[in-house]
């Protein structure tokens, strides 16, 4: 009996730590979406599809053209940032004065478009970038280097965004607009430019996430449907536009998925996380960190 407990604890610890690593990546995913929502008040339903395009870019650059991973990553980030800006120019800007739900639905159209674009151009095969990172063994626990790298890169990315928002002039303007978009236009801030920069930044974060996720998962046109929902749930659970809330929620979610997966299939981990989400909507409808009204 004692032996059984020992093994159990090691697995539990491993699951908890893996959950933390997963949480870092999820927090990065949520950050980009939260940024765009917080500033422009728009939800990119197609956010995960941007990541999917980035993952394909990484795949073709690295396995197709033999570009090194470290060179391909910045290219991928730039590409998805450009896509983010383009999305804003073509789809969001004409709809800025429309009811908010129309903007959400229009990005739903972009979701369809990107997904089938990938199906038509890249085919429906699962593609693997072919970089095998070793598995790190501490004691009897196993962690993949890829996850560790993703976790660290996600943290670095988040700190970089934080510093940008706090220290730079544009970052200050972005935060000011997030507080009051009418007044800032009167104060001489070019809202249009700030929106564009924010969209590009949101895209860049999606690009960074793509560089990391491509190490963990195979790419296929429908991968967005598995990444997307979880990202939205995290953002809502943390309170839309609330960066710290999103950060906390990402780790809570990752732990539930990881621990749920320990006791049963991984899908049940997701089901558990979804159930927890709905429960939380009863208790804290405005997000984990929101003050009770």
């Amino acid at each position: 009996m004692q032996d059984f407990l020992d093994i159990f604890d090691i697995y539990l610890l491993e699951a908890v730590l893996n959950g933390i690593l997963l949480g870092g990546v999820l927090a990065l995913l949520a950050l980009g979406l939260n940024l765009v929502f917080g500033v422009i008040d728009v939800i990119w339903i197609c956010y995960a599809e941007l990541i999917m395009i980035g993952m394909y870019a990484m795949f073709y650059l690295v396995s197709g053209f033999g570009v090194s991973y470290w060179l391909a990553a910045p290219l991928c980030i730039l590409l998805v940032a450009a896509l983010g800006a383009l999305l804003h120019l073509l789809v969001i800007e004409p709809l800025l004065s429309a009811p908010p739900i129309n903007q959400l639905l229009a990005t739903g159209g972009v979701l369809f478009f990107l997904q089938s674009f990938a199906t038509v151009v890249f085919g429906i095969d699962f593609r693997n970038i072919g970089i095998q990172l070793p598995v790190l063994g501490i004691g009897e626990m196993h962690f993949s280097y890829a996850r560790l790298l993703a976790f660290i890169a996600a943290l670095v990315g988040m700190v970089a965004v934080y510093i940008f928002m706090k220290k730079s002039y544009v970052g200050t303007a972005i935060r000011a607009i997030a507080q009051d978009r009418e007044i800032m236009a009167l104060m001489g801030v070019d809202t249009r430019r700030v929106y564009l920069i924010t969209s590009a930044l949101g895209g860049a974060l999606a690009g960074l996430a793509a560089c990391l996720l491509v190490l963990l998962y195979d790419v296929h046109p429908f991968i967005g449907l598995s990444i997307g929902p979880i990202t939205f749930l995290i953002c809502v659970l943390g309170g839309l536009g609330n960066f710290i809330g999103g950060f906390v929620a990402a780790f809570v979610f990752a732990e539930i998925i990881s621990l749920g997966g320990l006791f049963s299939d991984l899908e049940w981990g997701y089901v558990l996380a979804f159930g927890f989400f709905i429960l939380m909507m009863f208790i804290r409808p405005r997000g984990l960190l929101a003050r009770r009204s």
Binding site: I101, A106, F112, F113, T119, F282
Partner: protein, 320 residues
Amino acid sequence: MTARYGAWLALAAVLLVALPLVHRDPYHLHIMVLILIWSFAYTSWSMMGRFGLTSLGHGGFMGVGAYVTALLWNHLGVSPWLGIPIALVCAGALALVVAYPCFRFRITGHYFALVTLALSGIVLQVITASRDYTGGSLGYTPEAATGSKLLALQSSDKTVWYFGALAVWVAGLLIWFLVDRSMMRHAMEAISEDEDAAAAAGVNVTAEKLKITVLSALMTALAGAVYCQYQMFISPDTVSGIAVSLQMVFAAVVGGLYVALGPTVGAVITILLAEVLRVGFGTKAVGWDNLIYGVLLVAFIIFLPKGILGSLLERVRVRR
């Protein structure tokens, strides 16, 4: 005016009923049945969508309708005649559980869309995760009836299905008109304009929203069950999940979600587009239909937010 309107209605009814008796091409009938079933599903979505309750969870309700019916039949031998009402109750209960906190705590707009999005995600994951019973992502087939086909609600005759689907579709439109003429519509319109003002005027905001949501969920679940009985094959991707939810939104928006026949027009356009591409280009066309949908959806929301039928009717009205 009303006499002419009635004459048109009678003519349309005669044409719709006579069609399968005159034109017996099974492929065309198959397309017609699909159009009718999906029209009903899209109409169900628009029941609440037209009042600004944008749900992305209807894929979930449809999945519950289809899978509960099929599972009851295969595992417990419950006839769909009983299974469908049970499935509807399940979908209605699910709608209550999710919608009540949303409305009680005034989760609207973005939040509501995302919470319901979570719902379609859950249903998809539950179906996939319980693959021992549901066949997971490989799909699921209701067992062919050994005894009475009527009891099993199965038929290989397309004409029978055509009339069945037609009846369901007409029922959907009737419900639409009933809601349109009821106090519920005025209450919901007031709510969609301004919840506080509606509440101040004595509208029970939570109750009214719940009523329309549950009604819409029940209809969507019925569409799922009918689809399952007709196709005799369901998979999580065709009857549940976010893709199906978005497909409903797309068709309703393109057709026009504020007019009764708008979702039907949307269904005709989307299904015909997909079929023309499939027949014309074969496997090369995989993905092209959704590519076109995506561009159209964006274009419609930007340039024609009332949809094809909605904008047409408006133009006719202005000219008069």
